[in-house]
Symmetry: D2
Subunit: 142 residues, 4 copies
């Protein structure tokens, strides 16, 4: 589990006066990237030959529990809910003080990007998987 703090910006809001439901998804992605950076992992891990790993998304979802507003300071708890051979599912818990705001997920697939070639699904490399385990939910000290 990795904790990100983020203040709601004005552009995240809409004419209903609250954070737009779609604005939670870029926040999840930024929290994912920050969590990976904290592990020394780049989202675009180079793999030789001018190529790199890339993680296209296959699914995302969000449940909205309470409204968030301009300038709210949100906490986003990032965890890995499931890590398979080629894919990973991140979970995100948004809260403000003790109030649960939203709960979302993103599932991404590990792919090989080589210049001039189509994307190819690939196994998550062992050393990378090992580092990502630090975010696994069942890895949180109890």
């Amino acid at each position: 589990m990795f904790l990100v703090h983020r203040r709601v910006e004005f552009r995240d809001t809409d004419a209903a006066g609250i954070v737009h439901f779609s604005a939670f998804f870029p926040m999840m992605e930024s929290a994912e990237h920050e969590a990976l950076r904290s592990l020394g992992v780049s989202v675009m891990q180079p793999i030789g030959g001018g190529g790199h790993l890339t993680w296209p998304r296959v699914a995302s979802h969000c449940d909205y529990l309470a409204a968030a507003r301009f300038e709210d300071m949100l906490s986003i708890a990032v965890s890995i809910q499931k890590i398979g051979v080629t894919s990973v599912t991140y979970g995100f818990d948004f809260s403000r003080a003790e109030i649960k705001i939203a709960r979302g997920s993103i599932t991404a697939v590990c792919c090989l990007w080589m210049p001039g070639e189509p994307l190819r699904k690939t196994e998550i490399p062992g050393p990378l998987r090992a580092r990502m385990q630090a975010l696994a939910v069942d890895n949180t000290p109890s």
Copy 2:
């Protein structure tokens, strides 16, 4: 079922060269609003006393099946998958020509907005529900 056509704009794309996964959600919402307008229904239906109905979202999701790119012309089929006493779930099928691009949903709750009062969940008014039935999946002529 209601069909919307929409061309991918440059701002919808990201540095991976494809439509960003989060950009599908505002497209869903616009398709929802366009479907409601086609029924003569306003998303902010006035209800007297200076108030109006409003539809905060409680859940959204999207499955990504194939990449969409700048200037692609997408078709978005909007339907109502479920309409309860106070809530409605819309389904959205994105395609380009014969290729399925994405499949998503938004669940919204019918609320009463009155000036200076907190939002209050309310039953979907009968006449409104009747019109929305036109979008119900089991209402599509077979």
Copy 3:
């Protein structure tokens, strides 16, 4: 001059209840692209060798004259204010019915994109320039 019609979407608004000032810029860009398509010109004109033209922006501005709101139907008049050897400045006039909403501009530079090479500024090709003249302000029939 080329005229684009566009309905304000909910995601374009902010908690002040109006279209966010930054949301006018993607609208300008989409109108630019639609104007170019109307001339049979691609924004990413292929130029052989796997390369294409690309138009990075060097300046943009917008003056806000009146607020626009959710579901407003806007007209955007696109024109070319100035076309130089390597750069072009587009003008955009936003209005709703008879009300002037905003007036903006984007200046872009014609560059050569070749795979694996840095961008290189280049002259706007003659045939392309000839077609773009159709949008020039001094070309509007009087």
Copy 4:
């Protein structure tokens, strides 16, 4: 002058692989708000009677000097270029290390927002103006 640091997020980029030109405007606004918070000033200063000040934008511009990319750490120097009786113009200098990335501005007008009333332009209150002077360019110690 007030300095903000901000990492480029993936959603800020576009299919040209760089930060989209429109994405600089929400960054300017967030930097403005952060600068005001640093002075103990709220963007929505309460003024009694349930009302508050609000700052609709009348103009914005940006000059683009060099491309910014995903995960770049940007510095944004916020200053007040001009403060009039009812309006203020902020300047923003974006840089990455020693490289100048962009230079922009936002001009906003001080207005009174009272529930149920149209916006009314008003003089910037003296105490507020006094605090904002801390950001004035000619106030930077030399």
